[in-house]
Amino acid sequence: MLEFCQWLQATDVFTALRGSAIVYPVILSLHMIGIAFFGAMILVTDLRLLGVAMRTYPVTSVVNRLRVPKRIGFAVMVICGVLLFSTKAEEYYYNIFFRIKMILLALVCLHALLFAENVYGSAAEMDTSGITSKAKIAAGASLVLWLGLAICGRAIGYIEPPLEKIHAFLHTAAEAPGTGAPALRNIHD
């Protein structure tokens, strides 16, 4: 895994991206715009299932209508996330919050496997026979997982990278002597 991370960030395209002062914050901004534009769709869907928000609307007109935009949002966030990771793959590899975030992301996939069909795919049934307790569990779990993802995402930037182990550090320092060090000071600052 570590070898893969070292190879990935050493590729020409990601070495170039890492060297750019503007590309990384732009991709990070797009990652955050993903949260801003689509995060509330997850929230509203889950709160509708919990009976907290939009109670007067049919479950179908919330769950079914938001399905496609939520998927687009997820894709935007994942694509930006992969790009962010690839520029400094080795640094992320050592980051404990990044690892926790990936576990949470795996749990989000598991959540989808468990509930996609019998909860989110059964909105019409819930409109006639009421919201099942399974749906409420799914909604609660989803809220907890996404809150955890947001918190871990922010926390990644607070971990100091182990500079003595980082391969890309030498790479950048060699290219621009004396200015390489600050480029890898911290992932988000």
Binding site: L28, S29, A36, F37, Y57, P69
Partner: protein, 150 residues
């Protein structure tokens, strides 16, 4: 500004306070901008199209306000941790200008157009609204990447 100094002492008292405020800020903007975006996407013809915009505006309002409360609680406290840095940060200044523009637009043009249900104008309003809020997010991220003060 003695008040700012007291706030700064509080925010800087523990290493965990600032990151906690940042997380509240993230959840807050997800609610504030997200609840606005759901209606903007509706105006563009995507997402919750089974509801009429004025109806959707009303049912999203509480979430917009809760998000705003989170944002206006955490934001000024983060600012107080290091006011000079923010004051001299060009990204912060652009963010504040975009935020003021976005809020003014939200409470004036956007709420009127949604209420009137004027066809045609809705799409333009939605685009302006989404662009303004996206600029606020961009400004916020760039604050951390500005290396030289004004």
């Amino acid at each position: 500004m003695p008040l700012l100094m007291i706030l700064a002492a509080g925010v800087n008292a523990s290493e965990l306070i600032f990151p906690t405020l940042e997380c509240i800020h993230i959840v807050g903007f997800a609610m504030l901008i997200g609840s606005i975006a759901i209606l903007d996407f509706r105006l563009l013809g995507y997402g919750m199209t089974e509801q009429q915009p004025p109806e959707l505006y009303k049912s999203l309002m509480p979430w917009t306000w809760i998000g705003m409360a989170f944002i206006f609680l955490s934001g000024p406290l983060m600012y107080s941790s290091d006011p000079d840095m923010y004051y001299l940060n060009w990204a912060f200044i652009i963010k504040m200008l975009c935020m003021i523009a976005a809020l003014v637009f939200h409470f004036t043009v956007r709420s009127k157009v949604v209420g009137l249900g004027a066809p045609g104008t809705g799409k333009a309003v939605a685009c302006v609204s989404l662009l303004l809020w996206a600029s606020v997010v961009f400004g916020g991220i760039f604050i951390g990447f500005v290396t030289e003060g004004l």
